[in-house]
């Protein structure tokens, strides 16, 4: 079915809102200085730390978020809708609020952090704090995508497996999960991309130390104080990374849907 032609007008506006600022960023890149700026110790440290922590956060999101998504999609239990709303809260929170929430929980004086410190574990100012902050903001993306994918499944295949005597665990691993593969993948990639861009919660909760907690977004924020060209060069890396990652996955999932 063809949509009405006039939709192209507002749609073009939407594209402009997103693409023009990215174009602005691109045109102000100082090509001559790009390479030395990108290969400086601070930039490389920040990029590697970002990739490492975002990957760890994605794995955490998968391990914790996938079971939750399946329960939210398939289970019938009291408080289900309240829990779903709560899990989505980080999506709409201002980043600094997320940081404060983590700080008051896991900080040295925090609800849980206080006891951890007494046990000899400090989370503040460590790479763990960065992963925690990234997981906090990225988790909803995974839960939301996967829950949607599971709900979109035709339940008859799972029912058929059940009538053939498959246990719940076998049904999940042999029928449900393979069927939601694309949803799982796109959810993970979205979570990874969100973790890569995490800024406010990290700054508030984890601090900023080179090689330990200063991720790429924090390095950009700091570089801008003295050298806007360096900040723009690093921003370009982040934009390219995000575009490639999101683009690659969406190309696959939309192809699969056809």
């Amino acid at each position: 079915m063809r949509p009405p032609g006039w939709l192209w007008v507002p749609a073009a506006g939407a594209v402009l809102v997103v693409v023009v600022p990215l174009l602005g960023l691109l045109t102000s890149v100082d090509a001559g200085r790009l390479w030395p700026l990108l290969t400086s110790d601070a930039s490389v440290d920040a990029l590697l730390l970002s990739l490492r922590t975002a990957l760890a956060a994605t794995v955490l999101c998968l391990l914790l978020g996938a079971p939750l998504a399946i329960l939210l999609a398939r289970g019938r239990w009291p408080g289900q809708s309240v829990l779903r709303a709560l899990v989505l809260v980080p999506l709409v929170l201002p980043p600094v609020v997320g940081g404060l929430a983590l700080l008051t929980t896991f900080g040295r004086r925090g609800l849980i952090g206080e006891h951890l410190v007494a046990a000899g574990i400090t989370i503040s100012y460590t790479t763990t704090a960065v992963v925690l902050a990234q997981t906090f903001v990225a988790l909803p993306f995974l839960v939301l995508s996967l829950e949607g994918a599971v709900r979109g499944l035709d339940p008859r295949q799972e029912e058929a497996a059940a009538t053939l005597g498959a246990s719940p665990w076998r049904r999940l691993t042999r029928v449900t999960l393979p069927l939601v593969g694309p949803g799982l993948l796109s959810g993970s990639v979205l979570a990874f991309a969100r973790a890569l861009g995490e800024f406010g919660a990290t700054l508030t909760f984890a601090g900023s130390a080179q090689g330990r907690t200063r991720t790429l977004p924090l390095e950009i924020y700091l570089q801008r104080e003295t050298d806007q060209d360096a900040a723009i060069a690093l921003s370009l890396v982040l934009v390219v990374l995000a575009t490639v990652i999101v683009g690659a996955v969406y190309a696959r999932t939309t192809k699969g849907a056809r």
Binding site: G24, T27, S28, L103, G107, R108, R109, T122, S124, Y125, L203, A206, G207, S208, A209, Q210, T213, R214, Y221, L222, Q223, R224, E225, T226, Q228
Partner: protein, 253 residues
């Protein structure tokens, strides 16, 4: 060429944004009312609010519109053509960035660093050498911002190597981390320690008086009200302005 295009379009956007906020650029209107636009470093907030009130009291028909941000943000705005009358920077480097746009900047205040700890100084910190202890969570400013540049000069001068738990982009973030107990100690300006009152304890810091941060101020060359702008600078350098600054912990120029 593309860069220039991008720059001029961002100026246009800024101008639009300013217009949308209803701040009229040509403020010297017919009825004798004048709005003086003063941009000042965030660390001057308390002092400048008081000084602006004093200035308005002695200058009838003048309203001082203050905006505070990091000095580098303000310098970027001035480079972008923001319509301002006076610029007060927290360091010489950011004033130098806009030297073509500012008339003869003068130093009006100084600031030095101090160690701050939690109230009562539970870790018994007595000087910079104590901050080198790897078991302490010490937070300082990053080298890229003025307070961090001063921190680097100070630690080099005193021959102390710190291993900070975090390097913050704003001196206020260092102060918050210390006052909330997230950090054992930090290096901030004396004025921040004064402003924080009982939330932190300042520790006498050997050699800090030799690393002096100077705050320059100047009227902009294209100020809408050059006379009032010059008056404001004079007021700040005069006894009334200096008294307020010194009450807040700033040193004399």
């Amino acid at each position: 060429m593309i860069r220039r295009l991008a720059a001029s379009s961002s100026v246009a956007v800024l101008a639009l944004a300013l217009a949308a906020c209803g701040s009229d650029a040509s403020d010297a209107s017919d009825d004798g009312e004048t709005t003086l636009h003063v941009a000042a470093a965030a660390s001057l907030t308390d002092a400048f609010e008081e000084i602006a009130t004093d200035f308005e009291a002695t200058h009838e028909g003048v309203t001082v519109d203050l905006q505070f941000a990091g000095s580098s943000d303000l310098a970027t705005q001035i480079e972008g053509g923001a319509q301002l009358d006076v610029f007060a920077s927290a360091d010489q480097a950011n004033m130098d960035k806009v030297e073509d746009a500012v008339d003869d900047p003068q130093v009006f205040a100084t600031n030095v660093l101090t160690i701050v700890t939690e109230p009562g100084n539970p870790q018994k910190i007595t000087g910079l050498e104590d901050l080198a202890d790897p078991d302490l969570a010490v937070v300082v400013c990053a080298e890229q911002v003025p307070c961090g540049a001063a921190t680097k000069t100070l630690t080099e001068q005193e021959d102390v190597t710190l291993d900070p738990a975090s390097e913050e982009s704003k001196v206020t973030d260092v102060l918050t981390k210390v006052s909330t107990g997230e950090a054992d100690a930090g290096l901030v300006y004396v004025t921040d320690a004064t402003g924080a009152g009982d939330d932190v304890e300042a520790v006498r810091t050997e050699g800090a008086d030799k690393v002096v941060n100077r705050y320059p101020i100047g009227a902009l060359t294209d100020a809408a009200s050059p006379d009032v702008a010059a008056d404001f600078v004079d007021h700040l350098l005069g006894p009334q302005g200096q008294k307020v600054l010194q009450d807040k912990g700033f040193g004399a120029p």
